[in-house]
């Protein structure tokens, strides 16, 4: 079916009466629309399939710095005009973020401002101007942002630990990059990056809220239809070789008040058949107040922070176990609790109640996201980036529901108990002023 020159690709029932419809414009731009007439507003998000993992070797941080430049000026809008138009027309939540696989621009508007929202985003998709002086000034803001991360012991640990866990894949680098590299970027590099990745056939526009689908398609075709598609080369995926040895590191950090420890295991990406069982493992361990490790570590006052879950990226994932320990509790003791719980999973010692709780918590989370147009849009966008499947988050409960105890046992052994891992600790600086 075609509406206003846009091809309907799929219809996805979400929750309640909400349905997502996905279309494609002639130039390859993907569009997702969810009509929700509860409140006369809409969320407008643009998901580009480019992130820090697409950066050239040694040039980490460009995707993020470039994202900042998207708020500066275009050939149609001088510096400050974009922000002013958003503000003047009642736009809120104007912001963006860059991750390993995606860069996302988002705002909300009153229902009658759809044409403006589309015009603003279509303009900066094709008409961005990167001014030399603004580029240098923006580096200052990015360096201030970088400095904020340096003050965070947990981020410091992730930065070195991911570099240790991955040997070749770009996921080993942080999104923001390092100080010297940020300072060295040139306008030319930013322009090349823009031409290479900011094209309609590399993006999804998600509109959720008080809109009518034919109007959305008509407006988007008007605003974006003339933007030529690009010849995209798919990401050159560097396959991370299997980890053959256990790795570890320890750092100290002046802001750490309690030791933080983390252990990482390589796992496949979200589309892999083993992923639902790994996600099930993480949720049985930590999702909800009755989860195994919450009981044994948090409520027993051994740790103040706890993460144990399969985190997901487009190419491959990582199972992360992270704790912030309290004084006097050695890491070995905490890890023993974790491994005992994992052993229980491997032995099939999981109750029907535990599985039901996992499903309930997932379902409630989806319901809650449906009450917020921006959260709903985010769920759809993540599906597009991770698996080119807008329904990914909404069908995940079904995938989890098909996981058997044998599946769980098998992935626990294969990816955790019998696999090599990378462990890191960040410790308070001895004698540091707290």
């Amino acid at each position: 079916m075609t509406i206003n020159r846009c091809d309907l690709v799929e219809e996805i029932p979400l929750v309640g009466s909400l349905t997502a419809r996905r279309f494609r414009l002639q130039n390859g731009l993907s569009v997702a629309v969810v009509e929700d007439h509860t409140t006369p507003i809409f969320s407008y998000q643009t998901w580009y399939r480019v992130g820090s993992a697409d950066e050239a070797p040694g040039r980490q941080g460009l995707a993020h710095l470039f994202e900042h430049m998207m708020f500066r000026k275009t050939s149609r809008r001088a510096m400050g005009v974009f922000d002013r138009e958003v503000n003047l027309n009642g736009g809120t939540g104007l912001n963006a973020y860059t991750a390993r696989d995606q860069t996302v621009y988002h705002f909300m508007f009153p229902a009658d401002k759809l044409a403006l929202a589309a015009d603003l985003e279509a303009d900066r998709m094709q008409n961005l101007v990167i001014d030399e002086e603004m580029f240098e000034t923006e580096k200052g803001a990015v360096l201030a942002e970088k400095n904020r991360t340096l003050d965070d012991p947990l981020r410091a640990l992730w930065e070195v630990l991911y570099k240790k866990a991955y040997t070749v894949h770009n996921y080993r680098y942080t999104t923001i990059g390092d100080v010297e590299t940020i300072k060295s970027f040139t306008v030319r590099e930013a322009e090349d990056f823009y031409r290479k990745f900011y094209a309609p056939n590399n993006a999804l526009v998600v509109v959720v809220g008080d809109v009518n689908t034919p109007d959305v398609l008509k407006i988007l075709d008007e605003k974006y239809g003339g933007i030529p598609s690009s010849e995209l080369s798919s990401r050159a995926v560097t396959v991370e070789p299997p980890q053959e040895d256990d790795r570890s590191l320890t750092i100290s950090h002046p802001k750490a008040v309690k030791p933080i420890s983390a252990r990482l295991w390589h796992v496949p990406n979200v589309e892999h058949r083993d992923y639902p069982a790994l996600a099930m493992l993480g949720r049985i361990l930590t999702s909800g107040k009755s989860a195994v490790l919450r009981e044994r570590l948090v409520y027993s006052a051994k740790v103040t922070e706890l993460v144990a879950d399969a985190f997901n990226s487009r190419d491959c994932g990582m199972f992360e176990f992270l704790v912030q320990r309290v004084d006097g509790i050695p890491y070995d003791e905490v890890e023993e609790v974790f491994l005992t719980a994992v052993d229980e999973m491997a032995a099939g010692n999981v109750s029907a109640d535990q599985i039901q709780v996992v499903k309930n918590n997932l379902q409630r989370g989806l319901y809650q996201s449906a009450l917020s147009p921006s959260n709903l849009a985010r769920n759809l966008g993540e599906g597009y980036i991770m698996a080119d499947n807008l329904a990914m988050q909404f069908t995940f409960i079904e995938r989890i529901g098909r996981v058997t105890l044998e599946d769980l046992s098998s992935v626990v052994r294969r990816y955790i108990l019998d696999a090599k891992s990378t462990t890191g600790h960040v410790l308070p600086v001895e004698g540091a002023a707290q």
């Binding site: 509860t38 803001a141 709780v357 918590n361 009450l371």
Partner: protein, 433 residues
């Protein structure tokens, strides 16, 4: 002291049929931190954390599991004035969820063993919070607002350690008998069905409850009173400066709100100068915070790279002192009525409507129709904004709180104002021994 427009067991309800989910918040008015003393600091939070730690039928783990099997998430928290219980879960299980919550309300056991664990958790959390720069900054700001008193501190180790089961039980019995409002009920179920079930939950009262008291007033800065939370290795400085603003029900809040939006929002004059034009910081904002019946604070926040603090701090002060007359501000202000009128639609969101109902009855803030709202916004002019700014903006009398390195920040401050009083503190001082 109940606000005159609030009645006991008042329900704030909005129907939302998008999902089969029911979320309710029960507020026990007067059950918050205001009932603690220096000797019992921490008791309210510990009581909240203990509430779901077991009944005579369920231990902690089985109780948590029983809620989650029904698809429910439940918790208790406290603010300065109120003790809250929130419950969110599948509407199809509402009877079982409410039965379980009733069991907790009537039969919470506060087991001794759990109390020791909760106390340990509280002590651990207090210490862990000192790791987060933004949190430390905001806590130090509270420290200034409450003159270093109990309400401005993260807690007290000794009083947390000394909390007893009898104290928790006694505190809870007083909470249980406070005046109650059903602060939020967002659900696909009809109002009467929700009310009937909520009233059943709260019918039982055991004795005299706590009395809601007015919030503790904020201290008033005399001149520039600075606090530097010493952080020698901070890569960025963080600062928040504040002075007295308006109460939530002061009608001039519209004039002030538009002016502060033009000056201190993401697209405001302040951000444009400090961040966009100079690149000295990541964020730079001015906003009104904490306005209730107690006047709120106009606050200025930024996070300069430490190499730029010497430029940013005096420039921020200059902008605060001069912005009402600046052309770049007045140009932005002229556009704000359109901005704010365009934003009216957000007020029609069910969650916003609940909040508006509550503010109407707690603070006497009327809920305006679109026409009324637009008329009020249209009444904001450059003159009316400048009038309120001249009576509110007070750059000569501010608390100036920093998270950073004393030896670098102090000389900058002295250059800006030789009479500034500076207190340097260690993060640990925000927790009483």
């Amino acid at each position: 002291m109940m606000p005159s427009s609030i009645v006991d067991h008042q329900l704030f309800y909005e129907q939302d049929n998008r999902t089969p989910l029911t979320s309710v918040t029960i507020a026990f008015l007067g059950g918050g931190l205001q009932q603690e003393t220096d000797a019992t600091a921490g008791l309210a939070r510990i009581t909240a954390k203990m509430l779901f730690r077991g009944t005579s039928k369920h231990d902690r783990e089985s109780l948590a599991r029983a809620f989650e099997i029904l698809g429910a998430d439940v918790s208790a928290t406290v603010t300065e004035t109120e003790f809250f219980i929130t419950l969110s879960g599948f509407s199809r299980n509402i009877d079982q969820m409410f039965d379980l919550l009733l069991e907790v309300l009537n039969d919470a056991q506060f087991p001794e063993k759990e109390l020791e664990l909760v106390k340990q958790q509280q002590l651990n959390a207090m210490e862990a919070s000192l790791q987060e720069p933004e949190r430390v900054l905001m806590q130090a700001h509270s420290f200034a607002l409450f003159s270093g008193g109990r309400m401005g501190k993260i807690g007290s180790r000794s009083s947390v350690r000394s909390v007893t089961r009898a104290q928790v039980n006694d505190y809870y019995q007083h909470v249980r008998s406070c005046a109650i409002i059903y602060r939020t009920a967002l659900t696909d179920l009809p109002e009467e069905e929700i009310r009937r079930r909520l009233d059943r939950l709260t019918a039982h009262r055991t004795g005299p409850g706590f009395t809601l008291r007015p919030e503790e007033p904020y201290a008033v800065a005399e001149g520039h009173q600075a606090i530097i939370v010493q952080s020698e290795d901070a890569a960025n400085d963080r600062l928040i400066w504040s002075h007295t603003a308006l109460a939530a029900n002061d009608d001039r809040r519209y004039d002030l709100g538009l002016a502060l939006d033009a000056f201190g929002s993401f697209e405001g004059y302040l951000f444009d100068v400090l961040r966009n034009k100079n690149g000295w910081c990541y964020g730079a904002y001015a906003f009104q915070m904490n306005a209730t019946l107690r006047p709120g604070r106009v606050s200025y926040y930024s996070d300069p790279s430490k190499d730029f603090s010497a430029q940013l701090m005096p420039e921020l002060m200059r902008l605060i002192e001069t912005f009402p007359e600046a052309g770049e501000f007045t140009e932005r202000l002229a556009l704000r009525p359109t901005t704010f009128k365009n934003r009216y639609n957000y007020q029609l969101d069910p969650k916003y409507k609940l909040s508006a109902q509550l503010q109407r009855d707690l603070y006497g803030i009327p809920i305006l129709s679109r026409e009324e709202y637009c008329a009020r916004i249209d009444a904001v002019t450059l003159d009316s904004a400048r009038t309120v700014l001249s009576s509110v903006i007070d750059p000569k009398n501010m608390f100036m709180v920093f998270y950073g390195e004393e030896k670098r920040i102090e000389p900058i401050l002295r250059t800006m104002d030789s009479s500034v009083t500076i207190r340097t503190m260690n993060k640990e001082e925000m927790i009483n021994p």
